[in-house]
């Protein structure tokens, strides 16, 4: 692993709106190694989707401006021409979207929509493209794929459509797949199937995956590393094991506390009080302080930097709380989970 596949450095994306400038992504840096699964977690509006749309160059250029660097195999995608971006999109980097009900074109047969992705990037005949489409439909587990390839999107269920979307993302063997809340719009049993499929596919195809979600459970099941985003910034990051065993940021605790679990006898779900802040005018200091149960005077004034947790250089967090308190609170939370798990 000499060079990371994707190296995002100090990415900032701003949107011009009628009310002012919204800093949707504010100084985000991360790396994705080949074959790695990176989970990006956060509430709606935390900037996780915009980060990925920026990587894909899919923000509306009329309203959005981005600075920083998005190095894909060393090439800065922010500086790339739109035609260069097009050759990368759908070929080397592919995307799976949140809502499979609306992400497929209702007037074209799915075979045609899949084949389009092949033809756009490869010098092949339509027939070959269809053959490839059929192959992928089978790979993602569409029953009777030979017949279904000539069906229209409305003839598929939500879960089946998401399989089609996954097939479309995989069709050109991309090195990186960005999955933007791929299971959010699906019902629970289907979610599990789609996650299992993504995992299997990831093993088979060896693509790196950025998994965007607001659901820590999804991250726990799929990701190698986790980034927790809050209000356009990264508040904590680390290997999935570290995040779950030694969470260090009060916001991460909040996310973990709000995970519904069947195996704990918690009276009720923990909630993070209040709403995510407006990015038009974010709070001073630590952006989480208005909602944080541990907020101190310094949190209002000084913006915490991302710092390594103890000697673990892979695990970083941005919080002013002292180590002892954080260790104690994290231990309490983890104990609660393990106690729940062992009592069941």
């Amino acid at each position: 692993m000499s060079e990371p596949l994707l190296d995002v450095r100090d990415l900032r994306t701003e949107f011009k709106t009628d009310d002012g400038i919204v800093k949707a992504v504010d100084g985000v840096s991360f790396k994705v190694e080949p074959g790695q699964v990176l989970g990006i977690v956060g509430e709606s509006g935390s900037g996780k989707s915009v980060t990925c749309l920026t990587v894909m160059g899919l923000n509306d250029s009329k309203f959005a401006t981005s600075t920083g660097e998005v190095l894909f195999r060393g090439e800065d995608l922010l500086k790339a021409s739109s035609s260069r971006l097009r050759t990368i999109r759908g070929d080397e980097i592919a995307m799976i979207f949140q809502d499979p009900m609306t992400s497929l074109n209702p007037v074209h047969k799915i075979g045609r929509q899949l084949a389009e992705a092949v033809v756009l990037h490869n010098d092949v005949s339509n027939k070959q493209a269809y053959a490839r489409a059929l192959e992928l439909l089978k790979a993602v587990g569409i029953p009777r794929a030979e017949r279904r390839i000539d069906d229209y999107p409305h003839q598929f269920s939500g879960g089946m459509r998401q399989r089609v979307m996954i097939a479309m993302a995989l069709i050109n063997n991309p090195d990186l797949i960005i999955a933007d809340e791929p299971t959010t719009a699906l019902d629970v049993t289907t979610q599990a199937q789609i996650l299992a499929l993504l995992k299997r596919i990831q093993d088979d195809f060896g693509s790196a995956v950025i998994m965007i979600t607001h659901d820590l459970g999804v991250v726990a099941e799929t990701a190698d590393d986790v980034i927790v985003m809050y209000a356009a910034r990264i508040v904590e990051r680390g290997p999935v094991r570290s995040i779950f065993n030694e969470p260090r940021h009060p916001y991460t605790w909040g996310l973990m506390g709000s995970l519904p679990r069947l195996d704990t006898d918690l009276e009720r779900l923990y909630q993070i009080p209040g709403q995510p802040p407006s990015l038009l005018n974010p709070p001073s200091g630590c952006r989480f302080h208005p909602r944080c149960a541990f907020a101190m005077p310094i949190c209002r004034q000084q913006d915490p930097r991302l710092m390594a947790v103890g000697s673990d250089t892979l695990h970083e967090q941005a919080c002013h709380l002292d180590e002892a308190t954080k260790a104690r609170e994290a231990a309490k939370l983890v104990a609660m989970f393990t106690a729940g798990a062992s009592s069941s």
Partner: protein, 323 residues
């Protein structure tokens, strides 16, 4: 698909019955004494009674309507003019092609103006082109058609002399006494009326196409197409347009039907003896069968075009076929 077709056809029949019923009721029950109108101004009361019996007006309403419907459906006859005694069918068959030329010609012009203009406006909102188009739209919607017609007729027809000021020429079966005839003369005479109607109608269509395209551009599947790496022109052509044109097809179908009922003002301005002119004339003469004929013909045109639109729609949008 077949079930869909049959359902649409049945629905068209229901619509036909309803429309003829209402029309019949309006024209033959509302006037105090249609027999008096039919018999003429100076008829004696005995003569009026005779006419009343002859026309079947002394029978109960449902019998009259049933006879009317039977004649219309089985014989395809709309009756006879009170004034000229000629069959209403003949009147309409003579006038309808003129109105149809006007309407179809105008619709072709409308679409060739509105579709490109609407698309470009949608792709570059707030640009100079978009703003100019919006001004045009406002003018097209606000100005009355007869005014545009008169101005065009004066400027293009009279001052510049590029087109005739008014009048109509037959394409086929040109009468002996006619001053002009044939395809060329026909087109030459139709161009200004069509343009007038097109200017009036196109405004609405530019707005409509623009709104539909903008709406479709914000759809998720458009983003999917871009994420595939499709170039913008392909995204527009393959993914946006077909979806955006769905509602436009409906509107065209409805409007053609509607306009076939008579583009009265424009026909009047350019002296076209179309359905609008025929209707106008028959109103002046209290010639109820002719007026009723025009209305029923217009209604049937709307029904038929709605049916055509429904079928076209199913062909363009696969989601319709199942429902």
């Amino acid at each position: 698909m077949l079930r869909y077709l049959i359902r649409r056809l049945l629905w068209a029949c229901v619509l036909f019955i309803a429309v003829t019923f209402v029309t019949y009721a309006i024209f033959f029950l509302v006037p105090a004494n249609p027999a008096r109108l039919a018999a003429g101004q100076s008829a004696t009361p005995e003569r009026v009674e005779e006419v009343k019996h002859f026309l079947g007006l002394d029978r109960p309403f449902y019998v009259q309507y049933a006879k009317f419907l039977k004649r219309l459906v089985i014989e395809g006859s709309l009756g006879q003019s009170f004034v000229t005694r000629r069959s209403v069918n003949e009147e309409i068959l003579r006038a309808a092609p003129i109105t149809a030329s006007l309407v179809f010609g105008a619709m072709i012009m409308v679409l060739s103006i509105a579709i490109p203009l609407g698309i470009f406006s949608a792709l570059r909102p707030r640009s100079l082109l978009d703003r100019t188009a919006m001004i045009y739209v406002l003018i097209g919607i606000s100005l009355p058609s007869f005014w545009i017609g008169l101005v065009l007729s004066y400027v293009v027809g009279y001052k510049l002399g590029w087109t005739p000021i008014a009048g109509y020429c037959e394409v086929f079966s040109v009468p002996e006494a006619a001053a002009c005839g044939g395809l060329w003369d026909w087109a030459y005479h139709m161009i200004l009326p069509c343009l007038t109607l097109a200017i009036v109608v196109a405004g609405t269509y530019v707005r409509f196409v623009r709104a539909e395209v903008m709406d479709t551009l914000s759809m998720d599947f458009v983003r999917t197409a871009r994420a595939k790496g499709a170039p913008e022109h392909r995204v527009i052509r393959k993914h946006v347009l077909r979806n955006a044109m769905l509602p436009v097809v409906t509107m065209v179908g409805m409007d053609i039907g509607l306009l076939l009922g008579g583009a009265i003002f424009i026909e009047a301005v350019f002296g076209l003896p179309g359905l609008g002119g025929t209707a106008l004339e028959s109103i002046g003469r209290f010639d109820l069968p002719v007026l009723q004929g025009v209305v029923i013909f217009g209604a049937i045109a709307i029904i038929i075009f709605s049916l055509v639109v429904d079928i076209l729609y199913a062909w363009i949008d696969p989601r319709i076929r199942l429902t």
